[in-house]
């Protein structure tokens, strides 16, 4: 009888803690009891993406440790000349704040989505997309600036040659993720605005009825992009 309660009971009847982990995984059913397949799959995708970025950062670490040539000082490389003096790393700091703000608006969008307030949700998602586009724009500016200063994947004027290749690789992949996120945001925002999740309209690709959980799953991806930036900011720009 206890078995029946564990496997078929409501969320409130399931054991918690480590006993809960054992019960969930040994239930001969889906292991993630309260997460839908869409959310679980997004998490697993993000886990795999963690490994991708993990490998990039490890490659960067290996290159930086093993080169006898001094590593260029990111504080000076990414400084901007504002008001007659060099402000260190200012563009990167602004980019960080823009991305964190977009994470904040995304969290709000998820919240309003579950309140079924479709207009506010859509507006907040569009705001998130706008901030994301701003971020990509600033990254394009940063790339242009560095390229005109002579940074290439195989050389740069300040020190270790690997600086260019790791920079373009890591920020390039992150920028690609942000760009895909902006497109993803615009698609989901359109669905929300049109009321697809209220009218249970079927999706053009999967022919399934959508729910407001789609906004939360979209949010997981967006927060992950912000999360990766936290690590890039710490290891590449500040270290």
């Amino acid at each position: 009888m206890a078995q029946t309660i564990e496997t078929h009971g409501g969320a409130d009847l399931r054991p918690s803690g480590l006993r809960g982990v054992a019960a969930d995984f040994s239930s001969d059913q889906r292991a993630f009891k309260t997460a839908s397949w869409g959310k679980a799959m997004m998490w697993i995708f993000l886990l795999s993406d963690t490994f991708v970025f993990g490998c990039f950062l490890i490659a960067y670490m290996t290159a930086r440790i093993s080169t006898p040539v001094p590593w260029p000082n990111p504080s000076e490389v990414f400084a901007l000349h504002i008001g007659g003096q060099d402000v260190p790393l200012i563009l990167i700091a602004i980019m960080t704040f823009v991305l964190i703000s977009s994470s904040g608006t995304m969290a709000m969008a998820v919240n309003f989505g579950y309140r079924r307030d479709r207009r506010t949700t859509a507006v907040l998602m569009l705001l998130t997309a706008l901030l994301g586009a701003c971020f990509v724009g600033m990254q394009a500016f940063e790339w242009t600036k560095l390229i005109t200063e002579g940074v290439r994947p195989w050389e740069n004027p300040w020190g270790a040659a690997q600086f260019g290749s790791t920079f373009f690789m890591i920020t390039g992949f992150h920028g690609t993720h942000v760009t895909i996120g902006v497109i993803f945001l615009l698609i989901v925002a359109r669905k929300v605005w049109r009321g697809d999740f209220d009218a249970e309209r079927r999706g053009f690709f999967t022919s399934r009825k959508g729910r407001y959980e789609a906004v939360e799953i979209m949010g997981l991806y967006w927060h992950f992009v912000d999360l990766v930036w936290v690590f890039i900011f710490a290891f590449f720009y500040l270290w």
Partner: protein
Amino acid sequence: MSETTAHAQVQTAHAQAHSGQQHPIGLYFFVWGLLFVLSAASYMVDYLGVQSYLRWTLILVFMMLKAGLIVAVFMHMAWERLALVYAILLPPLLVLVFVALMVSEADYTIFTRLAFFGAGP
């Protein structure tokens, strides 16, 4: 009486489980503010030119705090079942083993470069 209360609680829990992740909006604003403060703090580490071990410690502390807040609150990990939390958060820890391997490998590379080619590249 207590039975009725328990029943009501079960029903509330049920309702919450079915309406998805719904948390007070003030919590999001609070975390948002904290992330801003932590980002500003990590930028100040560079701006003030803190160096060496203090710099690396501060960078790592601010980084882990920011990452923890984003995952726990913005990505709702704090309210998920422990089975999902462990399935997603434990595997990345293995990356640390990879880091340790590559630190040792890179140390060996720089050692051979210096030993056989002098200080040149």
